[in-house]
Amino acid sequence: MSIRINKSGLLDTLQDEGRYGYQHLGVNPGGAMDRIAMHIANALVGNPPNETVLEMHFPAAEILFEQTLLIALAGADFSSTINGKELPILHPVLISKGSILAFGKRKYGARVYLSVQGGFTADTWLNSTSTNTKVNAGGFHGRALQKNDQLLLNNPGAFSFVFTDHAFEVLPWKAKTAELYTTNSIRFIAGAEFGNLHNQSIVVMKTQVYTISRDSDRMGYRLQAGPLTTLSHQEMISTAVTRGTIQLLPNGQLIILMADHQTTGGYPRMGHVITADLPTLAQMQAGETFQLQEINPEQSEDLFFEQEMNLQQLQNACNFRLQEYLKA
């Protein structure tokens, strides 16, 4: 009832939808960076959308399956293989006991999500299984996975599947993700200090190209572009900040707060990336570029509902296909 880490990756942690209800104590929410990929990986194996998944950065871990399992990969494509044979992402896959999942070249994306049917057995801390590496709580002993770690599984289905010549069987349906991610630009709504930008800087902010800098991580994405200037130097009093908040640093550069953001901050808030576009951003990595496009809060909500509806339809379709398959 387990999987084992043969080789650790750069940063492999268990995550769910995040830890809410404790931000007034400074406990940041964390959670999967790409909520769409988490939902899809779970939907493909018949899990509820927020079941604990394994989030892996590049290079990702090598994993030994110690029992036959139904799994799925979603999010980034790191050229996954089972026992050296190519394994497509976005499909449910039956994996036979003793198989090894490994990754090769990064094709696209920054984070791949592994789901197993029934979910991982994870430590729950303050109502969430997300790994908090600062406090060392939640997930797998509150830390990133290391070589030889054994992850127990909740309640995987018993499969009497007879594998033919392969060690795995790719089930013949694929999650379509094109409509769920954006391709052109990252959209934001104006923040409380947006109006404090020079007129020229407002134009620059919405037209220039941003490059994601190397020192970007689960806490935040630092952007490189032409510096922005404000009308007056405003001494800020710290307020709560949230995932997607775009802050202006003293050097005129922007930073976008991500899943592991601090709960409060004292830099001017130029805007907030909309929830619907955070997964797209979460799949971009250092060196990649994008533009920022301003929309209003109502549009932002509509885009979110549209995305959630698409995810729900995908979930329903996955459940249907899986049930039909298991009956046959």
């Binding site: 007034h24 509150g142 929830t275 909500e301």
Partner: protein, 238 residues
């Protein structure tokens, strides 16, 4: 009406709304913020996942889908804006929770207080005077942020107000007591940090194993008392 000074409510993201009162760090405003925090915590708005008080602001993090069910045809933001206006004008329960008074031991020995001599020199006072000034006042926990359990307390006596270090330390040990501008605070975890370090407490400020993991809460009144190095080392062992 909860607020005695002008306030505004604005969107702080598509799943976040902020109420900001006044434009300064002020005990009265902070008390009003904490009152609203208690009222909204005791009488929750459906879909609100987090209520985060800061010096003079309160932010609500919400589930857009759940709130939409209540909002109907309006946008969630418009719905919450009106609801909060109402809750501020007609609080359900003005919770006058008496502030908890908490005493925290601090060892000001130079061996674990790397900036204390420097600060004394800067302010032309003796180290003993600096300790007397720092322990001679009750501090309010205005908010908790930056790190889990990091309490922003203030304000310190004008004689020891000190700007943060221009280059933050890459590592500050857990328990370090610092001064940052008019604020004083305790690092609950080892972390990078820019505050001037004048002592260390043996108290565990944040313990994930506790049901309420945080030693301090917003609105607490804190007083420090000085302990010796050997008391520091043996704290909790007797």
């Amino acid at each position: 009406m909860l607020f005695s000074s002008p306030y505004r409510i604005y969107s702080s993201g598509d799943h976040s709304i902020t109420i900001e009162a006044g434009n300064q760090i002020d005990t009265k405003i902070n008390q009003e913020i904490i009152s609203l925090f208690h009222d909204l915590s005791a009488n929750r708005i459906k879909g609100v996942k987090d209520i985060i008080p800061a010096f003079q602001s309160l932010t609500l993090i919400y589930d857009i889908t759940i709130c939409k069910k209540e909002a109907g045809n309006q946008s969630v933001f418009t719905f919450l804006l009106a609801l909060l206006e109402h809750r501020i004008k007609h609080p359900i329960a003005i919770v006058k929770t008496a502030s908890r008074r908490i005493n925290i031991p601090v060892c000001y020995d130079s061996s674990i207080a790397p900036d204390i001599a420097l600060l004394a020199e800067l302010h032309t006072i003796s180290i003993e005077e600096l300790i007397e000034i720092h322990t001679g006042k009750e501090y309010r926990v205005y908010m908790i942020g930056f790190l889990p359990g990091f309490a922003y307390m203030g304000t310190v006596d004008q004689r020891i107000v000190t700007a943060r270090k221009s280059v933050p330390r890459t590592f500050v040990p857990a328990g370090s007591v610092g001064i940052g501008g008019e604020q004083t605070g305790i690092y609950p975890f080892g972390s990078a940090g820019g505050w001037q370090l004048i002592g260390r407490t043996p108290i565990t400020m944040f313990d994930p194993k506790n049901e309420i993991p945080c030693y301090l809460q917003p609105g607490d009144e804190v007083r420090f008392f000085s302990i010796t190095l050997s008391e520091y080392k043996n704290w909790g062992q007797s």
